[in-house]
């Protein structure tokens, strides 16, 4: 791979590079070294991210039959996706309902993770005074993120199932007569699992913004007579905004594209944007899958653009 980088960066220079170390280091120009250092990563993104994205867009305009891709221009991927949508107006067609469901899940998960993430980050940043405790408690929140998502999903089954801990507990205490059916394989369990899996992505950026807040600003607010709530709204939240926005972008893009959690926790019953793509791929309808990917990408991009207007992400990293 590095051979390629060399060739691309400076055609004809390779014979010289072998002797570069023996010679004076100044023989390698700084920009050449930069290419050498950053080139391999750039190549990986080019080969496995940027070019594939271009292929998604191109293939979304190809034709297909039951067996294969047909590389000829066609809008079938899109028309198949929106089949019957105009005839059904003003009712929403399946695809419309699916995207509405995705946005609904997305909004619920976003609101909950934001609330939970903010509280957890606030506690860690402002109430935990010792650095060791701060690190230990942050680590405690981070470790589950390093283990398999599927395991963390199925972990809810023994708790929420028909004979799970929650139901049997409620029945025993006499609060309900029959086990609740909506606990598992429902919108509720999907949202619960998504919150469980991804609050981490909200905690970390908000915490990072909060620890940078100068504590004397908060004291100043108190001295000036602000109540705790006023300080929160007028000092802490504006200063933590970059973290809030970055965390929100993470959570929203993850939930928009999720198909695994929604599949497993929804009992394969809930349709969402990512699920359509998976279904189309399984049916070998690649242009239709790609068309849906393009639509999903456009919506995600729109949300991110709106959010990044609020804050300059690059400056915050």
């Amino acid at each position: 791979m590095s051979e390629e980088v060399l060739q691309q960066a400076t055609p004809g220079l390779i014979p010289g590079s072998g002797t570069a170390r023996a010679a004076k280091p100044t023989r390698l120009s700084p920009s050449f070294i930069s290419w050498l250092q950053a080139g391999p990563m750039m190549l990986v993104f080019l080969a496995f991210f940027l070019i594939p994205l271009v292929f998604v867009v191109i293939v979304s305009f190809w034709d297909y039959n039951e067996y294969q891709l047909l590389p000829a221009f066609s809008g079938r991927g899109y028309t198949d996706t929106f089949e019957g949508c105009i005839a059904q107006l003003p009712d929403l067609c399946t695809i419309g309902k699916t995207y509405l469901m995705t946005l609904k899940l997305c909004f619920m998960v976003w609101a909950i993770t934001l609330f939970v993430g903010f509280c957890v980050a606030y506690f860690l940043a402002f109430h935990v005074k010792s650095k060791t405790w701060q690190m230990g408690l942050s680590l405690l929140c981070t470790i589950p993120f390093w283990t398999s998502n599927v395991i963390r999903m199925i972990a809810w089954i023994p708790l929420l199932g028909r004979n799970g801990l929650v139901n049997s507990g409620l029945v025993k205490t006499g609060l309900i007569n029959h086990p609740l059916e909506w606990l598992l394989f429902s919108e509720f369990s999907v949202v619960l699992a998504l919150v469980h899996l991804f609050t981490f992505f909200m905690v970390v950026p908000i915490f990072n913004s909060m620890v940078r807040i100068d504590k004397s600003l908060i004291e100043a607010a108190y001295d000036a007579g602000a109540t705790g709530f006023q300080t929160l709204v007028n000092v802490v939240i504006p200063l933590a905004k970059p973290g809030i926005v970055i965390g929100s972008i993470f959570v929203i893009t993850i939930v928009m594209g999720d198909f695994i959690t929604i599949g497993v926790m929804g009992g394969q019953q809930i349709a969402a944007a990512g699920k359509i793509i998976e279904t189309r791929v399984n049916a070998l309808q690649f242009p239709a899958a790609a068309a849906n990917a393009v639509i999903l990408l456009a919506i995600t991009f729109l949300i991110i653009t709106m959010m990044s207007r609020i804050v300059d992400i690059k400056k915050e990293l």
Binding site: L36, L53, I143, T147
Partner: protein, 292 residues
């Protein structure tokens, strides 16, 4: 602020404790349930205590060929870890001075992190399908596929681990004191010597952190593997397959085994980081010791 702990401290402390319970409670439940007796089911109460289900996994008589998937996931995880560490450190060094393509690389990394995984995965699978078609059409009619664990699969995992590696490198060099390198240069060290003997020992604990991210993110990766891995399955893919057909606790046993590997790697990495930090604190400074 006022003296003593404000009321909000106690409210938030309870909230935090509840959050930790929420994070760990369900996971602990399945770890416990994976030690059910042979007659055990999917829920509490436990029906006896044994290692029956875990042993069953390793006998290979279960639904999953655990051994093969385990070795594949492990191999891929280790390769992803090594590549992630090398490429992230190199690129991180590059970002310390201005270079032409730096904003392209930066935005690619960020985009790769936030474009939904299913889209990246689909794109890679389309790319390899098109490559396959080209090979079949022009060179070899009998060609099967170029997709696989170490081609499309490796690439898919790297699009997920490299952004994390790069961001960690940014964090490292944000608080790195460049005067240390100047000193090394003044003493006549070559750039390589400066890197090897000054920069690397200082950043090593965080570099191990990058390795930890690389391995565990790959080991548990699912969404990007789903379309891009080719014919074989990794462990998380097998696990996901089990979720639709599951009737007995072997799924929990599998979950416990996968988590055990994750936790072992996390512990090893954190232990090494801790040891390195301690050693740095003990030996790091030779101020006042002189040369003779």
């Amino acid at each position: 602020m006022k003296e003593g702990r404000p009321r909000s401290f106690y409210v938030l402390a309870i909230f935090f404790a509840a959050y930790v319970l929420f994070l760990y409670g369900p996971m602990i439940a399945i770890y416990v349930l994976s030690f059910q007796g042979p007659q055990g089911g999917l829920t509490f109460p436990m029906n006896g205590v044994s290692t029956f289900w875990i042993a069953k996994l390793f006998q290979g008589t279960g639904i999953v060929d655990l051994g093969a998937a385990f070795r594949r996931s492990l191999l891929l995880g280790i390769i992803v870890m090594i590549v992630t560490v090398v490429l992230s450190v190199a690129a991180g060094m590059a970002f310390r001075r201005k270079f032409k393509a730096q904003s392209i690389l930066f935005y690619s990394a960020i985009a790769s992190l936030i474009v939904p995984s299913i889209i990246t995965s689909l794109g890679i699978s389309l790319e390899f399908r098109i490559i396959d078609d080209l090979i079949k059409a022009h060179w070899n009619e009998n060609f099967e596929t170029s997709m696989g664990l170490l081609t499309s699969g490796l690439g898919a995992h790297l699009t997920w681990t490299l952004p994390f590696g790069l961001l960690i490198m940014f964090a490292i060099f944000n608080r790195f004191d460049p005067r240390l390198e100047e000193a090394a240069r003044d003493l006549g060290a070559t750039p390589w010597q400066t890197f090897r003997h000054v920069v690397l020992p200082i950043i090593l604990p965080s570099v191990i952190g990058i390795g930890l991210f690389g391995f565990t993110l790959s080991w548990d990766e699912l969404a990007r593997s789903s379309q891009a891995i080719g014919a074989v399955n990794t462990l998380p893919l097998d696990l996901q397959g089990l979720t639709t057909t599951v009737t007995n606790p072997d799924i929990y046993a599998l979950g416990t085994v996968i988590s055990a590997v994750s936790f072992t790697v996390i512990t090893l990495a954190l232990g090494t980081i801790h040891m390195l930090n301690k050693r740095q604190a003990a030996k790091g400074s030779d101020a006042g010791k002189g040369l003779v």
